[in-house]
Every structure is written in structure tokens, then in C-alpha cells.
Symmetry: C2
């Protein structure tokens, strides 16, 4: 069974997080969400080890992650896919985390998949990835357009790096991850019962 | 500021819940999520009053609701919109709850909006609503097709009752609720930064 580690922080875009996690579970992917602490978060220091706090999403939905992010437990030996969702504040916290920057490079070097959506694509820049096709939310385009071959496609697959644009592209992003991990047939099998309107790019 | 009460239970489809809540917040709607207890839930009786437990979604995402459902605090005097998401088990719990059945009728009688998506449309049947246009997830079509004018449109607006089909129609459902509560311009203003792929029905 393929496995995915999906990062979450205060300020993560909760639709992007939820659509990816839920769609991957529908495909039979074993999903783990891991809470990445903002070092400036108040009142929680030292209390994380077994029970992560809830993450407060960008629009106020409170989600209880499965575990607390630990670099040692997040290696490409453990998971087939690492996902970095958007939401401005959550993406800042995640993409500025140097152990995560290191993991992004390790996953790609190990031939494992890395997915970034919306402002989550900042992690490609902060991890120092080479110039390659990439997309993101338009709000962070300026920061990315010179360092990458910037695209406005809904989903961009560049080797093992998959990037996407925002909540509105989260379904095709998640289904592309399903296809890469589980094949085209599984993608169609998962998309069917989700009942996309005729003509939707999914 | 318009306001919405969005119900959630164990087994609620977490994408449908999250897409509706988040999209309404983006439109400036004041959203409250309320946990509806499955009476058969173990180990939690009597402990709900101030801190609701997390709801475990249909694909395992754990969400902390804003409050515990109380019929007295959920009346159409308090909110402009009542939303019932899908997810087979969550929709069963919510649609079988007789105070909620009563509230569905009260909201419509008061000229307030009621939204139901996916298996959540079962609440229209259980609330004894009159025969009118309605849609749902195909998995519950058989239970609904004789009691309603069953449609396969992604979103069906029947007076103040708005129904929809599944996760794949949750964005157009949420944006239709935005349009009804806040107008067409607000719908366009909210949809823009969500970056739907060209041609998507949103």
C-alpha cells in the first residue's frame, strides 16, 4: 500500500489539506498528517510529543493532526509521497523549516514524490530545487517565476515534483497524485463516486 | 453579516464540510460548526456541554467543531443558513435526529436557507419536505426519487432548499450558497482567488 505524509500547520488552507488527504485515502493510500510547529506559537512549547495540538486552518477550521512532525519519522524510507499544502501562513511555517527543506531534497533524490500546492510551492524555492517546470498560487508567483519555469497549468508534473495552484485545482492535484501512486484505473475508480460536474477537469 | 450553521458528526464527508465552511468564510459569512452526537457513540456521554469532542470524518480526518449542537441555539432566529453535509454515517446521524428534522422545516418556513449535499439530502426525506426538485449522491437516489422531483444537476435550487451531489460538486454548491446569501458579485470575488481550472463549473 502506498503511503503519504501530509504536512499541516496553523494557517494551512484546510480545503487543500482535506481534499488531498481524503482523496488519497479513497485510493487506498495510507495517509499520515503531521503538525509542523510555528516556532513563535504561544503557550504550547514542550507539550507536543505524543498529542499534537490542533492546527487552526486559514479559515478557522480546527483539525487534529495524526502526529507531530519529526524529521526522523518523515524520511523517504517511510513514505512514498510528501505533500505541502498552501495557505499563506501555513506555507511560510512549513517552507521555512530547514529539516523539511532537507526532506524535500531527500525525497526527490530517493525517487519519491513531492507534492506542493498554492503557496506550498514556496518550499521548492526554499529547498533550493533546480530550475524546472512549476506552478503555484498567483499570490507567490513573483517569488518563483525567475527561479523556475513558471506555468499556469492547473497541475504541473516535473519528474517527481508535482505542483498546483489553489483550492480550485486541489481535486485534479489530488487525483494526479493518485494516478502517479496507484495508476490511471485507480484514478478513474476514485473520481467516479465523487460526482464531478460534466466537463470538470478532474 | 450573514451567518451559517454547519452540522458535523462522526462519518461526515470532511471535504464537503470543509469546502462549504471555508468558502462561506471567504465570503464573509459567520460560520459555526456544531457537533451532532451519534447516540450510540461510546464513552462520551454527558461530557459535551462546553467542549465538543472531535468529529472523525468519513476518511479519518479529525475536526474539532466550534460547538455542540443544541436545538435551542440553532433556530432560524440565530442563522440565515443551515447546512447538512454528506458522508453516509454522518448523514444518517444528522438526518435521523428529530430536533434537526424540526429545524429543517422551521428554517424553510421562516424563509431561511437550508443546504444539503450528498447523502445529506436524506434529511429532506426524514424531515417530510413536500415533493420538489432535489438532488443527492447517487447512492441514496433510490430512497429519494419517488418522494422528490429527482434531478442529476450538480446543484438544485428549489426555493430556499439547495441540494447537491458529492465532493465533486461541493465547490459549485458552496458558491451557490455564497451567491444566495451575498450576491453574484461576492460569488465571483470569492471564486477568483480559488483558481479553478478554465472551464470548471464553479
Amino acid at each position: 500500500m502506498p503511503s503519504a505524509l501530509i504536512l499541516i500547520a496553523d494557517g494551512t488552507e484546510e480545503m487543500e489539506f482535506t481534499i488531498v488527504y481524503d482523496t488519497l485515502v479513497r485510493a487506498g493510500v495510507s495517509c499520515t498528517s503531521a503538525f509542523v510547529s510555528d516556532e513563535h506559537r504561544e503557550g504550547n512549547s514542550g507539550s507536543y510529543e505524543s498529542n499534537p495540538p490542533f492546527a487552526k486552518g486559514s479559515r478557522g477550521i480546527k483539525i487534529l493532526p495524526d502526529t507531530y512532525f519529526s524529521p526522523q519519522a518523515a524520511t523517504p524510507d517511510e513514505y512514498d509521497l510528501l505533500v505541502i499544502p498552501g495557505g499563506a501562513k501555513g506555507a511560510e511555517t512549513i517552507s521555512n523549516n530547514s529539516p523539511i527543506q532537507h526532506l524535500v531534497r531527500e525525497y526527490l533524490q530517493a525517487g519519491k514524490f513531492v507534492g506542493m500546492i498554492c503557496a506550498g510551492s514556496l518550499a521548492a524555492l526554499r529547498s533550493g530545487l533546480s530550475k524546472q517546470p512549476l506552478t503555484s498560487h498567483p499570490s507567490v508567483r513573483e517569488q518563483l517565476k525567475d527561479a523556475f519555469e513558471y506555468s499556469e497549468d492547473p497541475v504541473v508534473v516535473s519528474g517527481k515534483l508535482i505542483t498546483s495552484r489553489g483550492p480550485g485545482t486541489a481535486f485534479p492535484f489530488a487525483l494526479t497524485l493518485v494516478e502517479l501512486l496507484c495508476g490511471k484505473e485507480k484514478r478513474a475508480e476514485v473520481a467516479g463516486p465523487m460526482i464531478f460536474p460534466p466537463g470538470t477537469f478532474a
